[in-house]
Amino acid sequence: MKLENSIFKIITDSGSGTGFFLKGYDYIITNYHVVAGFREVIIEDNQKNRYLSKVVMVNSLVDIAFLVVKDMPIVEKIIELNPNLHIETTQEVNIAGYPFGMPFVITNGIISSTKQIMDNRYYIQTDAAINSGNSGGPMIDEDNNLVAVVNSKFTEADNVGFGIPFSDIQSELDNFTFKDEVYRVKCISCNNYLEKRVKFCDKCGKDINEKLFNTVEKEEDSQLTKVVEKAIANYGLNPKLCRVGKEFWEFYPKSNVIRFFTTNGEDSFYANSPICSVPKENIEEALKIINGNKVKPFNLGIYAKNNTICLYYRIFQFDVTNDVSRDEVMHNLELFISKSIKLSEYFIQKFNADVAIESK
């Protein structure tokens, strides 16, 4: 059983965080601030498979959110919530997650304080390395018991990170009994759950911050986005799961990664895909193929930094949206995905090349 199988990267248009499953529960738990403003987010597992998930509960006071995800294969849940867990200072803890959006990482430290008070709430303080992207991830002991949910660190201090205590998570889970996929905001005073935008809680009268019902205002999709996402959909993939930022798509139709993106301040649109590493044998023949202009309208090149053969397609942005070239570009992007898979297989088989380091 691998710990990383039940811990996920959470991707939104605003950035990324971490979320995890607890044994016996169906929700992915993360921080409210990771998903604030979104009703739907992307969950990526350790194998880089992506799923759409819905935000079903947010508690802004505790900074906790619950997500449900359908269509995900059964996951072995390893982290346990033990209501009788005893923790003490100097006890070792592990922080698991996806700092800076990187692949899965575990860092280790000790509990520096079991009851650190900040903004009138108690937190568990640790000296383990916590970075942007760890938010929402689990802080666990050596037996994989949940100690806390990571939620902040002091940006100008080293080795000072905080987590929401496991007891708070227990309360949140005990209170939330809904089984549907409706978005609900928890009243911070009376534990009432609100489904519709209200100015105050209909049960206890506490003011409800209307921002909790807001969704991040999305700019209307650019013409370029529409063309690119149509090409991805034509290939048979869900463009929503491929979009990782504004005019930036990253996805794995098979093992190798495909990236479509524009660059700020430039007029170019890029499609890139590392297909395999540079072969160690019969290299002259491989290089002649790479430089032989045989994959038009695409090109092959070598990314020297990681010794990888890449398939790429670079065009002017206005050619993506221009009436005269749009359909051709859309077709080419669809073709690019299948070409990348075929070329990857070809080089690996013919030249015994290793898979590209970025492949899954």
């Binding site: 007029d267 170019s268 540079v278 290299i283 002259e284 290089l287 002649k288 790479i290 430089n291 032989g292 202009n293 090109n299 092959l300 090149g301 070598i302 990314y303 020297a304 053969i309 890449c310 790429y312 670079r314 065009i315 002017f316 206005f318 050619d319 221009n322 005269v324 070239s325």
Partner: protein, 404 residues
């Protein structure tokens, strides 16, 4: 030494610089919008150099070969496509094929955008074909520049580093013996002055100035546009390393010192082999105007003000030299503007540091006030005109005409 400043030798004049017509750019954009695609492409060529299509029958399909630096560019324009191609080098038994082809694949991926270098029939070449209705002026210009940059930067790298075979397509115009001697004297002068200044700076606890003198030395040599081949590429590369803020100061200094030492050790023959006048169909320098130059130079105002308040003429004079050499090196400035900068740079070698700094500040302020225009303009004050009238150089009719 304290009262001396590095010498600046004016580079040789060349008649082969492109004859730019800036007004053609707007024309090209308008023609493209009007769907006069072929005419729009022609306007882009005229914008870059009026001589490129001189004498060509533009009513028919165009098929021309033009030279730029070390490459011969084959250009075809008909009513359906624009085709540009350039053969670069061939390979033979002496060529290090694997290293060369790996380098080509790396260049294609990391350094080129739309054009790529391809290997077919033992030949490396660049090719670009585009349907004419997709040839926006911006795209055409970009593609042409990419061809020429790749030619300038890589063709000689392939020959000198990997023993690829030159196709010798370009006719080189040699310098006269007198010109060669003048250039060699200038190069040796810069390199020997570099040594003296480095010694001086390091012995006087001013080792941070070594960066200035190294950069000035490399700028001056690279500014000689008749030094070609891989040497040109190396100079551009080392200058960009020195200017790269992401590289640690001490590391880039070590690199520059090592490179300049290697230049000092090169024989006269090394320089003579790479010394010839080149033809350019496009200037690859940045577009400039009095406003662009004002904005660029204005970016250095705070640093200069700091040196001024510290009364550090020494720092000021070196900083200004670097700034003005960057203007010459990076911007497509007019002959008049270039002359003014070169005059000031030549003069400072004769001045002491205080005087040198004052003169450069005067020039800096003139650029900031946009007084150094693209062309020399005759500005007569009424008093001057009256004086000229008195001494009989101008007539009343001329003065009337001037004020019309």
């Amino acid at each position: 030494m304290e009262h001396l400043l590095p010498k600046y030798y004016q580079p040789l004049k060349t008649k082969k610089e492109p004859k730019k017509d800036l007004s053609e750019w707007e024309k090209a954009k308008k023609l493209y919008e009007e769907k006069s695609f072929k005419k729009a492409i022609i306007a882009v060529f005229n914008y870059n150099n009026k001589n490129t299509l001189k004498g060509v029958d533009l009513t028919k399909d165009i098929n021309i070969t033009r030279f730029h630096g070390d490459i011969a560019l084959d250009i075809s324009i008909d009513n359906s496509e624009l085709t540009v191609s350039a053969k670069m080098v061939s390979i033979d038994k002496d060529t290090n094929v694997v290293a060369l082809l790996r380098r080509v694949a790396e260049i294609n991926f990391a350094l080129l955008d739309y054009v790529s270098i391809t290997f077919e029939n033992n030949l490396l070449s660049m090719n670009y074909v585009e349907k004419i209705d997709r040839c926006k002026p911006l795209k055409v210009n970009w593609i042409l520049q990419e061809f020429l940059f790749a030619g300038d930067e890589h063709l000689n790298e392939f020959i000198e580093k990997y023993n690829a075979k030159s196709l010798s397509l370009v006719k080189k115009e040699e310098l006269t013996t007198a010109q060669q001697e003048k250039v060699l004297k200038a190069i040796r002068g810069y390199l020997s002055e570099y040594d003296s200044y480095v010694d001086y700076f390091e012995n006087n606890g001013r080792s941070s100035y070594v960066w200035d003198i190294a950069l000035i030395t490399l700028y001056k040599i690279s500014n000689m546009n008749y030094l070609n081949g891989y040497l040109k590429y190396e100079l551009i590369n080392k200058i960009s390393i020195l200017n790269n803020e992401k590289i640690e100061f001490k590391d880039k200094l070590i690199e520059a010192k090592k490179y300049i030492k290697s230049l000092q050790e090169k024989s006269d023959e090394f320089y003579l082999e790479r010394m010839f006048f080149r033809e350019d169909i496009i200037s690859l320098l940045k577009i400039s105007s009095v406003d662009i130059l004002k904005e660029y130079l204005g970016g250095y105002f705070d640093s200069l003000a700091k040196y001024e308040s510290e009364q550090n003429d020494f720092a000021k004079v070196y900083y200004l030299q670097v700034i003005f050499l960057r203007v010459i090196y990076n911007y497509n400035i007019s002959a008049y503007q270039k002359k003014q900068i070169e005059k000031a740079l030549r003069r400072i070698a004769k001045d002491n540091i205080k005087k040198g700094s004052e003169n450069l500040i005067i020039l800096y302020n003139k650029f900031m006030r946009k007084e150094i225009k693209e062309r020399y303009s005759f500005k007569f004050t009424t008093a001057k005109l009256f004086y000229l009238l008195i001494i009989g150089i101008v007539s009343v009719e001329v003065i009337n005409a001037l004020f019309k």
